[in-house]
Amino acid sequence: MAGDASAFEPFVQSFQAKIFQYTWLTCGQREDAEEVAQETLLKVFESFDQLREPEHVRAWVFRIAKNYCLMKRRRSVYAPEREYSLDELLPSFDGERSLQIPDESEVPEDALLRGELNARIETAIRELPEIYRSVVLLRDVEELSTSDTAGILNVSEDVVKQRLHRGRLALRKALASYVEAK
């Protein structure tokens, strides 16, 4: 792909939306997300010849996106990053209602329900502390491997696994609350 001039347009189409989704959920503001996504796309194209492992192109692109998001993010150095304990994420089996998540294969025509769930997931992802959100975005939304995610975030695979699990538990809990509120 890297040596093929005809790959230009498909690459733009394929990665623009993916980069934007990542920067949108990471930066929080649409204007910032658009700007960071464009900077990322340009950086990717400028340094494409430096890509050493084409099979890991997505991980390489998201690493660049992450770095631009970090530069953009306005975060107080005095604000400690919140961390979840497992205890606060466990279900309370006494009275917690069953979570009914529509299965893609079962309700393909129910756009309203799907849209509502999509909006709820977006809110839940945004509300995750950054250390969990970054892992959930790369592992579950972008479906990158544990190894690639660890490389992008400069943490060990064990840290990725721990943060992913707690992030998933927090999402499950948030979605359960949503069902209860309905």
Binding site: L41, F45, D103, D140
Partner: protein, 105 residues
């Protein structure tokens, strides 16, 4: 990990049994296929007789699936002509450098 199912006739409290808690801590690795076969068998032996754990696994799997299918609403602004030109130029230059490197190797 013990492979004994909880004793529902006695003092097993759903979600508070130590084995349930141990399983909760490892469910993501289980669902991602990252556990050893022996550990998977232990989890499956437990949840076969623990409806709350079955429900929890179902919920967790459902929320993971929902994340896989999640897409932000709305598309990014189209790449404007100026950016497209810069991208195209950067792409051409990167390709040229790559070909040059290949010839030197």
């Amino acid at each position: 990990m013990s492979h004994q199912p909880p004793d529902h006739e006695h003092d097993h409290q759903h979600g508070k049994d130590p084995l349930c808690l141990e399983i909760f801590a490892r469910l993501s690795e289980y669902l991602d296929g990252e556990l050893a076969a022996e550990d998977c068998a232990g989890i499956e032996a437990h949840i076969a007789d623990c409806p709350p754990c079955v429900e929890f696994v179902k919920q967790l799997r459902g929320s993971i699936e929902a994340s896989h299918h999640f897409r932000v609403p709305g598309q990014p602004a189209p790449v404007d002509a100026e950016l497209r030109e810069r991208l195209s130029q950067a792409w051409s230059e990167a390709l040229a450098r790559k070909h040059q490197d290949a010839q030197q190797d």
